[in-house]
Subunit: 376 residues, 2 copies
């Protein structure tokens, strides 16, 4: 729990929901826009001009006040709370990742988000030994005071949730709260939310597609101090979670298995890359306990603020036409570093950032890891 | 093969055999004695005086010329060759360990000892998967030009030997060549020696006892560039081999397994301690190939030499009675460092070394790892 956090007003929460549900606005762009305009309302007002200046081919859809009100009402009727980035209930470690969802839709017990969390994930097609090990690990980590995060999938995920229903577990959904996947785990989810929670960044009725799972996986690792991969075949989703955990600076643990067992190929591979080998719960606790002791040094998140009168207002950094065209001419389908754009365009970082934001809102820009961008 | 090596004369070989078969003479003492006296014959002559000065409680048995001749003759009749430390056929890497056997009794093909060698060891009570993996590894490492070293035990060892009979494998025996253990592997051993070898440091008829196996294990690792542990329970013999390999500076490899499989407890433990994780043959080759490329920088072994006229002869460093008693008074049942003995006795390293040799020959000294000694 972030005791320094400030609660959003009801109006601000609605604005945030409108902004994140608008076309071409992802978590990173949301942050850029709100930082830039001093709040979501001003950002919403600026979207049409940004899209036009960015050369949008058609009108980008902006979520209406009415649609946001409907979503908020429906969510509350389902027992779903929207927790905003920087609010006291927002999970602290998730706040540290650069694509943290501005609004986390939480169903169940908010308090679980403030516990130290560890993720346990693995194959859907798990072995009996894998399921047994995941259960033991989840139960013992739960008893040691950790909340267990997983993805509600069949196999390892479900085993980890089941064994930690009593101590507290979090199911991170790839779709919305009204589209539980797999449907057969609807009953399990009801048990989970009694003392734990289900979280999602998607609209209530969002049907999860294949590409929503990797996106969801960054939340599993982002919520957690570390991720334990119990069984994983080559090129499986659990390995994506492990990679994201590494990128987010979280601990990666893997359970070894026989080289002749295809379900151990992924975990053995992680071990070769330096993941911590886990054969018992103490192996996980030994690594996480010192991290817990260290606490978190979070930069204060104050996304909503009155623009300071001395700060450069948006109009001050609006790029001149020749600056914009110079920057765009440097962009193409090959990702380039933003730093290089600044240097090569002989403009300022603020100008480059603004042009990129315009292009993004216009749906013409793709962001890659490591501050790289390309034109779509 | 050590092309710089010098062959022993038939006389010298007999003297060596007499010396190493005499009471209280192990491989380290053998080396000290021969270095000190310039040859085995002089050392044999000095044994009674050394034992007396060391305070032997009774007469220590010195192997007679006749007994050594009988052993040498019987060995040759069995097709067993004694290869001396420093001779061209003596395995180079084994020569690097400080308790290398002065004489290695080899039955089979001497040339296999000159190949790059890798050990594959593991549980007697192996799983089907473990046996299959050991076979695959032995076959593929054999095809890649490595000779396979193992201990002829049931389970993993036998699987490794069987799969490398065609490419070359070495069985290291804990007993003598006439006491094959387990007896059921007598046929396997005959196949092994066709293109490979059986080696032993013990007399032909030596019945292996429990404590001979750890002693034997140092030869398995000592012959090899690295040791692969395929399956190992907690506190198993394979873990001793792994520890010795580490102490000898050899690579340690371990095959992972499920935490729920007791046969993987030892190997998973080794991985936690930093052993290289092996799921395929390439993992082993990737580590060993660069070592092979480096070659070996062996100090020339010239154990048998005419004593140089300017060197201090044995009599010159014979300790005075007060020196001897000062050193002995510093010794007790608790191991102490030889360096500390030199410092605290205010004598020279040569004097301390001589007194320790006397005590050893008298059967009163125990040597521990790391240059520590205690009185028995």
């Amino acid at each position: 729990m972030n005791s320094d956090g400030v609660r959003l007003t009801e109006e601000q929460r609605l604005d945030w929901l409108r902004l994140i549900r608008s076309d071409n606005v992802g978590p990173r762009t949301f942050r850029d826009l709100v930082n830039y305009y001093g709040g979501a309302r001003a950002a919403l007002a600026a979207l049409p001009a940004l899209a036009r200046r960015g050369g949008a081919s058609g009108p980008a859809r902006i979520c209406s006040q009415a649609d946001a009100e409907i979503e908020l009402k429906a969510a509350r009727a389902r027992g779903v709370e929207f927790v905003g980035l920087g609010e006291p209930d927002y999970p602290q470690r998730l706040q540290m990742i650069d694509d943290a969802p501005p609004l986390l839709a939480v169903r169940g017990t908010l308090a679980i988000l403030a516990q130290p969390l560890v993720a346990i994930v693995g194959s859907r097609n798990a072995s009996a030994a894998g399921v047994k090990f995941a259960e033991r690990l989840a139960r013992e980590l739960g008893d040691a005071g950790f909340g267990i995060v997983s993805g509600l999938a069949r196999g390892i995920d479900a085993a980890a949730h089941r064994a930690s229903v009593a101590t507290g577990t979090i199911a991170v959904l790839a779709g919305g709260h009204d589209r539980i996947y797999p449907a057969e785990h609807t009953d399990l989810l009801e048990k989970i939310i009694a003392d734990g929670a289900a979280v999602s960044e998607m609209p209530l009725a969002w049907e999860p597609r294949a590409r929503d799972f990797p996106r969801r996986n960054r939340l599993i690792s982002g919520l957690s101090l570390g991720v334990v991969i119990v069984e994983a075949a080559r090129r499986s989703g659990s390995l994506i979670t492990a990679r994201l955990a590494g990128e987010q600076g979280r601990e990666v643990f893997a359970v070894p298995g026989s080289p002749l067992d295809p379900r151990a190929e992924g975990t053995n591979g992680l071990l070769k890359q330096g993941a911590t080998l886990v054969t018992e719960t103490a192996d996980v606790i030994a690594v996480l306990e010192p991290i817990l002791g260290r606490g978190i040094d979070l930069p204060a998140q104050k996304l909503e603020q009155a623009p300071s009168p001395d700060s450069l207002g948006p109009t001050d950094t609006e790029p001149a036409e020749d600056e914009r065209s110079r920057i765009i001419s440097l962009l193409g389908p090959t990702p380039v570093a933003i730093d290089d754009l600044v240097r090569m365009s002989r403009t300022s970082p603020a100008i480059v950032r603004t042009v990129l934001l315009e292009l993004e809102i216009a749906g013409r820009l793709e962001r890659h890891g490591g501050a790289l961008v390309s034109l779509i």
